[in-house]
């Protein structure tokens, strides 16, 4: 059973401010209680599955400036990153 303090702690860690705390807490508690159904299944200790790919089958990890956004008047820094407007 998740406690109110645990919900409050996770929300704080995730920088989420909640106004109607009690309503959220009750629904979150119901959701997590539902997750306890996972306890009813006997599962093996190891993972049997997954797709293995070799590193050379992945595309190169390089920045490609496609020019996207230029026609929207957005500014590019160093040819790599798009700048948001400054907070005033």
């Amino acid at each position: 059973m998740i406690t109110n303090d645990e919900i409050r702690a996770v929300a704080k860690l995730m920088k989420i401010e909640i106004d109607d705390y009690e309503e959220h807490a009750e629904k979150i508690r119901k959701m997590i209680e539902y997750f306890d159904h996972l306890d009813s299944v006997a599962l093996s200790d190891t993972f049997q599955r997954g797709i293995t790919v070799t590193i050379d089958s992945l595309r190169d990890d390089v920045v490609e400036n496609t020019g996207a956004g230029a026609d929207l008047g957005l500014k590019f820094g160093g040819g790599e990153h798009m700048h948001s407007p400054k907070l005033r």
Binding site: A11, L13, M14, I16, K30, Y34, F35, L38, H83, L87
Partner: protein
């Protein structure tokens, strides 16, 4: 003569090619219909009136004898979590209210490259978290068959738009049934391909290892036409893949064999997925009978649709969403400022207060289930459950005889607004038949098959990995036997 908006994409493409249909007239009629009905139905959150200019270009190209692409100027709706350059992509969240995408998603780029015209962005549950559109920040969409009922979700706007003839086909995203569920509730075809068949580049991420872009249309053939136009490998998305079954170096043809029928095929009836005493259950039984009448054999199969599989789905998606939504700090989409100190933290908190209640809850869940002390009980166990489900499905298809699994798409009829929104567990149960395909990466399609109390019932077919073309062929057969015909009267 008035334009018939109820035709299929295939009929439209043939009509444009032969000169019988004017793309401009069709697109104008579509926009007129949106203007007339969408204030009530709310399928769209933004509409592009410039679509008419694009349509004029298609007609000019036809007159000049130039190629107009496989989609020939057909009007599409695009779910508002799929990026389109120069247009707002809000995910129906106040957080992204004014976000204008600087680039096209690959599926949008390919759709446009094949001649498709986007007439608008469609409504959805905020960040695709929901299955009724009641969690859409700008208001829900209404089911065109009965406006007191939900249209399903999260791609509810995309489904309503196709069903209400406000576009010819649409794109959505399917993380746990978000294309198939609203397709079932709105009486159209909704398709989630094998994971990796459609690029997710430009799809605003919810749960990366599970979600896929999906296609909604009025016929199975239409889905195949769109798949041919937009599927295939994409260097911008390393999870896209080839058809490993054929080893083909190209995208398979999804319509070449679509009229091939099901003679000699075996269909597995997922007998644990429905209650035959209900309207939905009896419709599934009649669909099984229709398969047998078409020459297939139907055998009972058993797959775990219990709460544990739904729990696994919600644990994994919450964890991935928690990670993805950490990016919604309004910095990359809002203002630029130093990333430290009280001002930054207060700003993040303020920005995240723009997230709606369901997204907020799932973010908290996403922080909780993989956290120290809880990961073993929830997250790791959910990963193992996912493996176990894949093994079960592999077992069902192991001997190579079974072509697909038949079940209801949703276990109930479309329900009324407000009926389930306050009970998250009740909503979880609506996903019981659809999450299997997402957790295991299998292709799955909802086909409208019956009506009850004036509301549509969809049946779901799920295939083995990379059996997409065969699955569409089977779905096309059952759609031909559908008791559900025509569009809703608005």
């Amino acid at each position: 003569m008035s334009t018939d908006l109820g035709i299929t994409l295939a009929e439209y493409v043939r009509g444009v090619a032969s000169g019988e249909i004017s793309c401009e007239e069709y697109v104008v009629a579509t926009l007129d219909r949106i203007e007339k009905h969408d204030a009530k139905l709310h399928a769209y959150v933004s509409v592009d009136a410039d679509a008419v200019e694009a349509a004029k270009g298609v007609d000019a190209a036809v007159r000049a004898g130039r190629d107009v692409g496989a989609l020939a100027g057909a009007p599409f709706g695009i779910k508002d979590n799929i990026c389109m350059a120069g247009t707002r992509t809000t995910c129906c969240s106040w957080m992204l209210e004014d976000y204008v995408s600087p680039y096209d998603a690959t599926v949008v780029d390919r759709l446009s490259g094949s001649g498709g015209i986007v007439v608008g962005k469609t409504n959805m549950d905020e960040f695709a978290m929901g299955l009724t559109t009641e969690f859409a920040a700008f208001g829900p969409s209404l089911n065109p068959w009965n406006t007191e009922c939900v249209p399903g979700g999260s791609s509810g706007g995309s489904a309503v738009a196709v069903s209400a003839l406000e576009c010819i086909a649409s794109l959505g995203s399917d993380t746990g049934g978000s294309v198939r569920n609203p397709a079932s509730f709105c009486g159209i075809v909704g398709y989630k391909p094998t994971y990796g068949r459609l690029s997710r580049y430009g799809l605003v991420s919810y749960a990366n290892s599970i979600e896929q872009v999906g296609i909604m249309a009025r016929s199975v053939e239409d889905v195949g036409i769109v798949m041919n136009a937009i599927s295939g490998e994409d260097k911008m998305d390393d999870t896209t893949r080839r058809d490993v079954r054929s080893g083909a170096d190209h995208t398979p043809d999804h319509i070449a064999d679509i009229d091939g029928g099901v003679e000699g095929m075996a269909v597995g009836l997922d007998v644990d997925s429905f209650d035959e005493s209900t309207d939905v259950g009896s419709a599934v039984r009649r669909a099984a009978d229709a398969f047998e009448a078409a020459g297939a054999t139907v055998t009972d199969v058993h797959i775990d649709h219990g709460p544990s599989s739904v729990a696994s789905y919600y644990v994994l998606t919450a964890a991935e969403a928690g990670s993805n939504l950490a990016r919604y700090d309004n910095l990359r989409y809002g203002y630029d400022m130093p990333q430290e100190g009280y001002e930054y933290n207060a700003y993040i908190s303020r920005a995240r207060s723009r997230l709606g209640p369901e997204v907020t809850r799932r973010m908290i869940l996403g922080g909780f289930v993989p956290s120290a002390g809880h990961a073993g009980k929830y997250y790791l166990k959910a990963l193992k459950m996912r493996d176990a489900l894949s093994a079960q499905v592999d077992g069902v298809f192991a001997d190579g005889n079974l072509a697909c699994i038949l079940s209801p798409t949703v276990p109930v009829l479309p329900f009324k607004f407000g009926e389930k929104i306050d009970d998250p567990v009740e909503l979880f149960r609506m996903d019981s038949n659809t999450v299997l395909a997402n957790l295991t990466g299998r292709p799955s399609i909802s086909v409208p098959f019956a009506m009850s109390s004036g509301l549509p019932i969809g049946v779901q077919l799920t295939g083995s990995l990379d059996s997409d073309a065969q699955l569409l062929r089977i779905a096309n057969t059952i759609h031909a036997s559908s008791e559900s015909k025509g569009a809703p009267q608005l």
